[in-house]
Amino acid sequence: MGLFFISPWLIGFLLFTLGPIIFSFYLSFTDYQVIAAPKWIGIENYRELIKSDPLFWKSLYNTLYYVAFRIPTGILTALSLAILLNRKLKGVTIFRSLFYFPSLISGVVLSVIWLWILAPEFGLLNMVLSFFKLKGPLWLTDPAWAKLAFVIMALWSVGPQMIIFLAGLQDIPEQLYESAHIDGTNWWQDIRYITLPLLTPSIFYNIVVLVIGAFQVFTQAFIMTNGGPVDSTLFYVLYLYNNGFRYFKMGYASSMAWILFIIIFCLTLIQFRFSSWVHYER
């Protein structure tokens, strides 16, 4: 009876997940350019990627750069907002909603909106900066700033992480703060010695999820910069897409997918391995 109920998933798993995974693994050892049948070439794709494809390394570097800025800024913003919004004051639910809403906008709409916000001369961001007598960079058209523009843009979609932090904060018993206040702690000590330690499971969860997501950054770069200027926003998945669906090097792209899989898998394992800083109750 159990199998009867899960049979849709089981069939779907075989057809849409396990089958394609095996096929993809096979393809990654072939030269397959769609027109002719796949040709077995052993580890040639992997060798070429690692040994003689500067764009592979460039895209990996760009992605790591993005991840390195994306995670701390994302966590810090979400955490600060959640702490601010974890109060029982009038209107707080409306504020939470307002901070959450932008994260529902994604994909093309988000990209198009931010193209306009980040426009060098008449974009909102640089106009605001010039209001404070600051000259903003050219953002998406400046190789030095383009990746950071994506990091800033991602902060607008902080909602999901913020909600997870809020849920974590609401689980912290009020008495802990009360007894700490009897000992005369200030707000920073409250955060440092009560909030942060008890919030480590949420922080850990958010980091793991953000890392996985940040490694797969694609749509924004595809629409807004298409990898430019001078490949400064050629992120890993964008390069993978180009190989697979622009140059039709499907075998090569499959190898890239497997390397990505292995990177994400190892990074996640490492995070779990070094998670002794996470403080679980009980």
Binding site: G2, G12, S106, V237, G244
Partner: protein, 279 residues
């Protein structure tokens, strides 16, 4: 008395900080809206104006006419409705098998299901494309809807399973005594009780497919089949400097999300999605 004063001052500072931050978060949206209502020559003025004069309401009309908007809307809705239907039926069905009945191997297979969430979609993207191409599904809506009928949204199965666990076992036992089959219990008892969870799953499915870009980009090649997301992308490539029209088109795509958000705020902010994380 003094303490109360401190609290009031504290709260006041809090409100000021929050309001500034809310302003930073919401202002881009206002700015986009303002842009959508400007005539072309108002776009490039310094200092900028927030309230356009004259207000160019017909930008929305122009944006709708610049692309086959209604056709793209229809295509998008077809995909959204079918994948929503498939997702809700199959996920809730499969979740029943993973929670309401005991059978050997259940928990191992559930771990496999959770494991599939870890696999980056890029790994299956290319083989699936090749297979769909072979069976002639490219340039149809099938690759974007059919998988939903096979509980491929593992996270949704997970959510529903967690929810089913909170429904007392006694309900099923009583139904068994009355000679109810599992199929009937699922349909008549569990589904009505799981409504809030089903709504959550439905909303997330809607948003995902409404915003989806890569799927339609790869599978829909003929412009008669495009979704709104692809239409907006094509719009940008064609009218890249008509920022007012582009923002108008973007706003038209955001409106359903706003409506959904306003009618189901609780789903997003109360964190129903999180109940699963802790169990």
């Amino acid at each position: 008395m003094n303490n109360r004063k401190i609290t009031i001052v504290n709260n006041l500072i809090w409100y000021i900080i929050i309001c500034v931050l809310v302003f930073i978060f919401v202002f881009p949206l206002l700015w986009i809206f303002s842009t959508a209502l400007k005539t072309r020559d108002q776009l490039f003025v310094y200092p900028p104006v927030l309230i356009p004069k004259p207000v160019a309401w017909d930008n929305f009309k122009k944006a709708i006419n610049a692309i086959p908007f209604l056709l793209y809307l229809k295509n998008t809705l077809i995909i959204v409705v079918f994948s929503l239907l498939g997702d809700i039926i199959s996920s809730s069905f499969v979740a029943y098998g993973f929670s309401r009945i005991d059978w050997p191997g259940r928990d191992i297979l559930f771990l496999v299901l959770l494991g599939t969430m870890m696999i980056p979609y890029q790994v299956t993207l290319i083989p699936l494309f090749i297979v769909y191409r072979m069976i002639g599904w490219v340039n149809t809506f099938f690759p974007l809807t059919v998988p939903s009928f096979f509980a491929t949204a593992a996270f949704h199965v997970f959510l529903l399973r967690q929810f089913y666990h909170t429904i007392p076992k006694d309900l099923s036992d009583a139904a068994y005594i009355d000679g109810c089959s599992d199929l009937r219990i699922w349909w008549k008892i569990i589904l009505p009780l799981a409504k809030p969870a089903l709504v959550t799953v439905g909303i997330f499915n809607f948003i995902n497919h409404w915003n989806d870009f890569l799927g339609p980009l790869i599978y829909l090649q003929e412009d008669k089949k495009y979704t709104l997301a692809i239409g907006l992308y094509a719009f940008r490539n064609e009218f890249g400097t008509d920022w007012n029209l582009m923002m108008a088109a973007a706003i038209l795509m955001v409106i359903p999300l706003v409506a959904l958000f306003l009618s189901a705020q609780k789903v997003f902010v109360s964190g129903i999605t999180l109940t699963g994380l802790k169990g």
